[in-house]
């Protein structure tokens, strides 16, 4: 065996990202509570709201369950991305797991990519369970046109990534993992109301709409409506249309700006003593 004296270059960020994604999925599968919560929450919400308000009809003649499916699909993505990522990063940091990654010289973007990989897989499973329940349980028509499915796809992916980035950013705020979890949960609940998950967005006060427009969830929900509601319903949106271009722009901006900012400001350790 020949021995060379030149140290090979460290593995690429992509290789580390792949290992991170595998690890995240394995750890997720071992958290039984988290698995049940992530997959059951949107279904339970669909059942509760579908059963109570199933007979209501919203502007444009859209039955409530159809409108609500868009909202709850968006919320599910927001919870598996924003909420679970923010809390898991804070917990990992507090447990010293991020210190190990730091001394290994892990590129932050590889760590982020592992989180994003987890989010994309869990969001896909979550939606794959939710849609049949809505369709067969509450007669929500699923999109017939391939274009609507394509919209559903890119909105779901961009929404997942934007939510992940928001979660990473929020995980950088000071405070203990416990206080961060509380704050993130409260923020997520408020954001859901502001973003038109539970109510028809156009009926919300203008200032709420404007606050919501800063965050990804409003755009994610609106994008989901454009996939699940009939085309005529577009007229009842605040802007009088689905705004696909603006939705894509806002979500992509969140991802790109978020990754750049988070890569520079990410903290591997709790604040110095």
């Amino acid at each position: 065996m020949t021995t060379t004296l030149v140290r090979p270059a460290p593995p690429s960020a992509a290789r580390v990202a792949l290992a991170r994604t595998r690890l995240e999925l394995r750890l997720f599968a071992r958290e039984r509570q988290q698995v049940v919560f992530s997959f059951a929450y949107p279904i339970v919400m669909m059942v509760v709201f579908g059963s109570v308000l199933g007979g209501d009809v919203l502007p444009g003649g859209v039955p409530f369950p159809q409108y609500f499916l868009a909202g709850i699909a968006a919320t599910g993505i927001m919870l598996t991305s924003f909420q679970s990522i923010a809390t898991s990063i804070a917990a990992e940091r507090e447990a010293g797991q991020l210190e190990r990654l730091q001394v290994l010289g892990t590129p932050p973007v590889a760590y982020f990519a592992g989180k994003a990989g987890l989010v994309l897989v869990t969001a896909a499973v979550q939606l794959a369970l939710l849609l049949p329940v809505a369709h067969w349980g509450y007669d929500v028509p699923l999109p017939a046109a391939a274009a609507d499915w394509a919209t559903f796809g890119w909105v779901a992916v961009l929404g997942s990534l934007a939510g992940t980035v928001l979660g990473i950013a929020v995980a950088g705020l000071p405070g203990s993992a416990q206080s961060l979890t509380t704050g993130v949960t409260a923020f997520a609940v408020v954001l859901q109301f502001f973003s038109g998950v539970f109510f028809a967005f156009p009926e919300l006060p203008g200032w709420m709409q404007q606050v919501a427009a800063v965050f990804p969830l409003k755009w994610l929900t609106q994008g989901m409506r454009s996939a699940f509601l009939p085309d005529e319903a577009a007229a009842f949106e605040v802007a009088g249309g689905w705004e696909h271009g603006r939705t894509a722009l806002v979500l992509v901006a969140w991802v790109i700006i978020g990754v750049v900012v988070c890569t520079r400001t990410f903290r591997w350790r709790s604040a110095e003593r």
Binding site: T3, T4, R30, V103, G105, R273
Partner: protein, 297 residues
């Protein structure tokens, strides 16, 4: 596999020192933890930083690892400033910090296999398991390991990437005597491969056993550096002659115990009761150096 062909180069005396520290200062909230610390570690040696809790050992080692900022001072580790060094530099150092930093739900083997992906040419998992004596725990989840077993996993993770310089921060805390001896063997094995080792400890026997040189740290400064046997040479010259006189113990501290004894024997016609002549051991020297109230003043 090409990955197994690589080995770190053996250090030579022509190399620059592995670690050079000049005037390192660091304070937290106005309290100075490090106050002008100087330190030099030669390539290939094992250097032990010895000191009481809170003396600044961990802060020093974290600055050298590039994970903690410093307020002042010059620091070179493997010819780079740790505060700005990049990933290729990190690949050359190994860190065993006070936690193992692996997810609790992973088994020991899964943790080692996972972290192998961060290194070019890592040590094989089986070799690491054997080296730290965790073969029988390979299938056990990290969260179910004992404190000593976690330390061993931390050590395995720290040397996984075949580092040229290893930082060991209180590596044997919580280990039983058998595990400690096994760990010492591991460190000797690393050194045989030419790895430079910088460890912190508050066990004197560990420092004496492993280190070529020991640096005693107290109040944020290095108060003495030397081979363990020569540590505190000044202090060791002082012997204590002690005997019983009229039922009470008398002690004389002197650099010339022979002269004291001659005088004593000349003035005492009978046997001197309770006569002892003692020189300070490593522990006494250490306690004096760090100024602990328990040490002889």
């Amino acid at each position: 596999m090409t990955t197994t062909e690589w080995a770190p180069p053996a250090p030579t005396t022509a190399d620059a020192p592995a670690v050079v520290v000049r005037g390192l200062a660091k304070s937290y909230g106005g309290r100075a933890v490090l106050d002008g610390l100087d330190l030099e570690v030669v390539r290939g040696e094992c250097f032990a930083l010895l000191g009481p809790n809170g003396a600044g050992k961990t802060t020093t080692i974290e600055v050298l690892e590039g994970v903690r900022s410093r307020d002042a001072g010059e620091v070179r580790v493997l010819d780079a400033d740790p505060a700005t060094a990049g990933r290729p530099w990190r690949a050359r150092i190994g860190v065993v910090s006070q936690g193992e930093g692996a997810a609790q739900a992973l088994t020991v083997r899964e943790a080692l296999d996972h972290f192998a992906a961060y290194h070019a040419g890592p040590r094989p998992t089986a070799e690491l398991l054997a080296a730290v004596g965790l073969e029988e725990k390979a299938g056990t989840r990290v969260g179910r390991l004992s404190g000593g077993q976690r330390r061993r996993l931390a050590v395995a993770l720290g040397v996984q990437g075949r580092p040229e310089l290893v930082f060991l921060d209180e590596p044997t805390t919580g280990m039983d005597p058998v595990a400690r001896r096994q760990f010492w063997e591991l460190v000797r094995g690393l050194r045989a491969e030419g790895t430079t080792v910088l460890l912190t400890t508050h066990y004197l026997d560990e420092a004496a056993e492993l280190a070529d040189r020991v640096g005693v740290i107290a109040d944020g400064r290095l108060v003495e550096v030397g081979p363990p046997a020569e540590l505190g040479a000044q202090l060791r010259r002082v012997a204590t002659v002690s005997w019983l006189e009229g039922g009470a113990r008398r002690s004389v501290r002197t650099e010339a115990p022979g002269a004291v004894l001659r005088d004593l024997l000349a003035t005492t016609p009978h046997e001197v009761p309770g006569l002892t002549v003692t020189r300070p051991g490593l522990e006494d020297v250490y306690l004096q150096l760090v100024g602990t109230p328990g040490g002889e003043q």
